[in-house]
């Protein structure tokens, strides 16, 4: 079989993403007639909507949040893997997602609303990245970065447990649900809150796609080829931390998207980040939209509430990643 070109791979990811966005609104515990729903939604005032349109109106904000969250996590994972030249790097293995969770949790305990929640999440995620880099630099081991990340992951995780212990019972249920990764959104608010952070992160990375190519290949060679390795690594990891924190603050720590999606996209796009990153954004967004549709569509043991999407991504992503690992080593 001929290897797909980067252009074809990104095109395919775009198609999948588009298909996911069009199909997902009509998947769920309540059936919806697509044509009726869309025509009502687009032509009638909200008060005159049919039940179909009302359900569509409820699901769209969720789909938008899934799309943006998946894109942010997948791109963050791809950048971390390239910069650290470690295929196991991701917002999770480096501890950034757990750090952001602790930040957002602290926000809840301190009484901060949804708008203020990204603040402490960002601070702690960036702190995590700074610490990981500092520890790795001093340890001088090739695996120092991931070891530092795993250690900090445990430390921030302990902080999360502590806050859960201290939390008011009323906060606990919401925190519990959010911690599993949940895309419940009643309006476009969370997506709009996410958008500026994604824009900043993606812009930072877009300026560096060429340097990322060289660094992913080899740091010393990259430096000899004129790449300011330290500055690019700092900027890239900061951008990845920012994307992670912004997503986690809105949707909770959704696992496996940042780890898995780059591995699926990379064989098609190659290591040119001008293709790889857009490919990851589209595939990550599409994947999370579909995963959320699965979470909504199944009647999980007769429970009325939807399954948190983080459970679905872990159930799909875990085995898929293991399969990838086995296929690569064979």
């Amino acid at each position: 079989m001929r290897k797909p070109t980067p252009r074809a791979t990104v095109g395919l990811a775009a198609l999948l993403c588009l298909a996911a966005v069009f199909v997902a609104p009509f998947v769920g515990s309540e059936p919806v007639a697509p044509l009726r729903a869309w025509s009502d939604l687009l032509t009638l005032p909200r008060a005159a909507w049919s039940p179909d349109a009302a359900i569509l109106g409820l699901r769209l904000p969720r789909i938008l949040l899934a799309l943006l969250s998946g894109a942010g996590l997948a791109v963050a994972g791809a950048v971390m893997q390239s910069l650290l030249r470690n295929p196991l790097a991701s917002p999770y293995t480096l501890g950034a997602a757990t750090a952001a969770s602790l930040g957002a949790f602290a926000g809840v305990v301190l009484g901060a609303g949804a708008v203020a929640r990204p603040g402490p999440a960002l601070v702690l995620a960036v702190l995590d990245v700074v610490l990981v880099l500092a520890v790795a630099r001093r340890s001088r081991r090739p695996d120092g970065l991931v070891l530092a990340g795993v250690t900090l992951n445990f430390a921030f995780g302990a902080g999360v447990l502590l806050l859960r212990h201290l939390a008011r019972p009323t906060d606990l249920a919401a925190m519990e649900r959010w911690l599993l990764g949940s895309l419940e959104a009643v309006d476009a608010g969370p997506s709009l809150a996410l958008l500026p952070w994604l824009a900043v992160g993606f812009t930072l990375l877009a300026r560096r796609v060429g340097d990322l190519d060289q660094l992913a290949f080899h740091p010393a060679l990259a430096e000899a080829r004129g790449v300011a390795a330290d500055a690019v690594r700092r900027e890239g990891l900061l951008a990845a931390g920012l994307l992670t924190a912004a997503v986690v603050a809105q949707a909770g720590p959704i696992g496996f998207v940042g780890l898995l999606v780059p591995h699926v996209v990379r064989p098609g796009t190659g290591l040119r980040h001008a293709w790889l990153l857009p490919g990851c954004a589209l595939a990550g967004g599409g994947f999370l939209v579909l995963a959320d549709a699965v979470a909504r569509s199944l009647d999980w043991f007769g429970r009325t509430s939807d399954l948190p999407v983080g459970v679905v991504t872990a159930l799909l992503g875990g085995p898929a990643f293991l399969a990838l690992l086995l296929r690569r080593s064979s």
């Binding site: 980067p6 295929p87 060289q214 290949f217 080899h218 010393a220 060679l221 000899a224 080829r225 040119r272």
Partner: protein, 259 residues
């Protein structure tokens, strides 16, 4: 138009001083071989000459200007550097590897792969120069050590630099490929490049280099034409009693391992 180290002191960050006052010049049109025992400071010197290691004292000068004053992108267009060990983590093909070097010379942009019209000719030229064109579509990780080395040398050639700094380019290559590679260095120097390579085979180096430089404990022990450098007076310090010296059929000295 030369690349030169003047009274250069250097070492790795937070580490001890490795180079203790090195003077070395590589002029355009010259092939220079850098020899010395393990830990003599050869790789440190190569990194300093490539601008990747800041001098602690003394300096590195390119075309009369301190190397540190040169913007990184300009430096990359003039000096091509191959480190001793390069192990990519991801599945780059040989052609993709060389395309990364070709990009420095302005062949192709961020979106362009090795098949893009702007890149293809440069990639094929560089791969052909190290007899690696047939490996173009193979992932680097699947190649033998010697094949991978040839692809990496090609990726540095694709930068089209004025000076080549190669740290053990012939390591793991079989004899025909090692000889072919050194003939290529000779041809590049004849076309006006300055070539400095690190090696461990004085006999081979003597046949292809204009000058041999023996580095010993962070200092230049001797720097001169092969026939002058390959003498017991100098070699004893570097090779201990592990060698015999004789004359080859071509009239140049031959270093033979001693039983």
């Amino acid at each position: 138009m030369a690349l030169a180290a003047h009274a250069l002191h250097a070492g790795w960050p937070d580490g001890p001083e490795v180079l203790r006052g090195v003077d070395l010049t590589v002029a355009p049109g010259e092939v220079v071989a850098l020899l010395g025992e393990n830990g003599a400071g050869k790789s440190t010197l190569m990194h300093a000459l490539a601008g990747l290691l800041a001098p602690r004292a003394g300096g590195v000068v390119l075309d009369g200007r301190p190397l540190a004053d040169l913007p990184a992108a300009d430096r990359a267009r003039r000096i091509g550097f191959l480190p001793q060990e390069v192990h990519p983590e991801f599945a780059f093909t040989a052609a993709e590897t060389v395309a990364l070097g070709a990009r420095v010379a302005g062949h192709g942009g961020w979106l362009d792969g090795p098949d893009a019209p702007a890149v293809r000719a440069a990639v094929e030229r560089a791969l052909a120069a190290t007899d690696a064109l047939h490996l173009a579509d193979r992932p680097l990780g699947e190649l033998s050590g010697g094949e991978r080395r040839r692809v990496l040398v090609a990726s540095v050639l694709a930068q089209e630099p004025r000076h080549l700094l190669l740290d053990e380019p012939g390591a793991m290559l079989d004899l025909p490929h090692r000889v072919a590679l050194h003939r290529r260095f000779r041809a590049l120097a004849d076309a006006g490049l300055g070539v400095l390579f690190v090696g461990h085979d004085p006999t081979l180096a003597a046949r292809f280099a204009d000058r041999l430089v023996l580095l010993h404990e962070g200092r230049v022990l001797v720097d001169g034409p092969p026939a002058e450098v390959l003498r017991p007076r100098w070699l004893d310090a570097v090779l201990d009693d592990a060698y015999l010296l004789t004359d080859g059929p071509d009239g140049l000295p031959v270093v033979v391992p001693r039983r």
